[in-house]
Symmetry: C2
C-alpha cells in the first residue's frame, strides 16, 4: 500500500487524483491499464477527474519509478505497478490475457549480448505473443 508520505518522498504533492490512481493500480485485478482504462475507472467511482490529469499523473509515476510503461502491439501505452521484481510478458493474442514470467538464463544472455557489443543495458522489453489454448481460451472461458 502506498501512502501520502510515499508521494511526498518522490517530490509530488499527495493530491486526491494521485492517491486515487495509485490505489486503483494496487487494487486492480488487471495489472495492465491504459490511460483510458484508468480514466474510466475513476469516472465510475464518481468524483470528477480529467483525462489530462490521468496522463500527467501516469507520466510522473513512471518517471518516479512507481509504474512501468509498456507498448505491446496495440497503438496505446499500458502501465503496471512496478513491484521491484523485473519480469517479461506473455500476451495471448486471442483473449488478450497477459502472463508474466522471469527467466534468469534469458536475462544473463541479454547482459552478455549487450556487453559483447559495448552497450550497457538500461531497460529492455521482451514480449511473447501467443495463443494460449485451442478454442477454449482458459482465460476467456475461465473454465
Amino acid at each position: 500500500m502506498t501512502t501520502s508520505a510515499d508521494l511526498k518522498t518522490i517530490g509530488l504533492k499527495a493530491t486526491l487524483p494521485r492517491l486515487r490512481i495509485l490505489e486503483l493500480f494496487e487494487k486492480s485485478e488487471v495489472r495492465h491499464l491504459s490511460a483510458e482504462d484508468v480514466y474510466k475507472k475513476l469516472v465510475e467511482e464518481g468524483n470528477d477527474s480529467g483525462l489530462a490529469t490521468v496522463y500527467r499523473v501516469l507520466t510522473q509515476f513512471e518517471q518516479a519509478g512507481l509504474l512501468t510503461r509498456h507498448h505491446f502491439e496495440a497503438g496505446k501505452a499500458v502501465y503496471e505497478l512496478n513491484q521491484g521484481e523485473h519480469h517479461d510478458h506473455l500476451v495471448c493474442l486471442q483473449c488478450g490475457h497477459v502472463e508474466e514470467f522471469y527467466d534468469a538464463d534469458i536475462e544473463k544472455r541479454q547482459e552478455a549480448i549487450a556487453r559483447d557489443r559495448g552497450f550497457r543495458i538500461r531497460d529492455h522489453s521482451l514480449h511473447l505473443y501467443a495463443d494460449c489454448a485451442r478454442n477454449n481460451c482458459p482465460h476467456k472461458g475461465k473454465a
Copy 2:
C-alpha cells in the same frame, strides 16, 4: 530486389506507390522507417503520394510478410524489411541507433517458457534499450 512479379504473387497489383515503397526499403541505409519517414522520402523524390496510401501499403506488406512492424518505445510504429532471418533489437537510447542480434539460447528458452504454460508462440519482440558508449557514441560521432 523485389519485382512486380513478387507483388502479384502475394495478390497485390504492381502499382507505382507499392513499387516505390518497396524499393525505398531495399535501398535505405536506415532499416527502420515509420509511415511518416516513408511518406517524406516519397515526397522528396517527387511524384505525388498520399500518406493514406503509405499506411495502406505498409499494412498490406506487413500482412503479406514483406515487412515487419515494431513498436519500440516511441508512440509510433516502424517497419523493416523482412529478410527471413529472425532477429531481436538493441536500441541505443542516446543516438537512436539500432543493432540487430540473434541468440539461439534465448530463442530456445522462449519456446520452453511458452510451452510450459501451454502457449504456442506466434510472434515475439525483444528490445534491449541501452547506451552504446560513453560520450562518443560510435554511431553518433561515426568515429
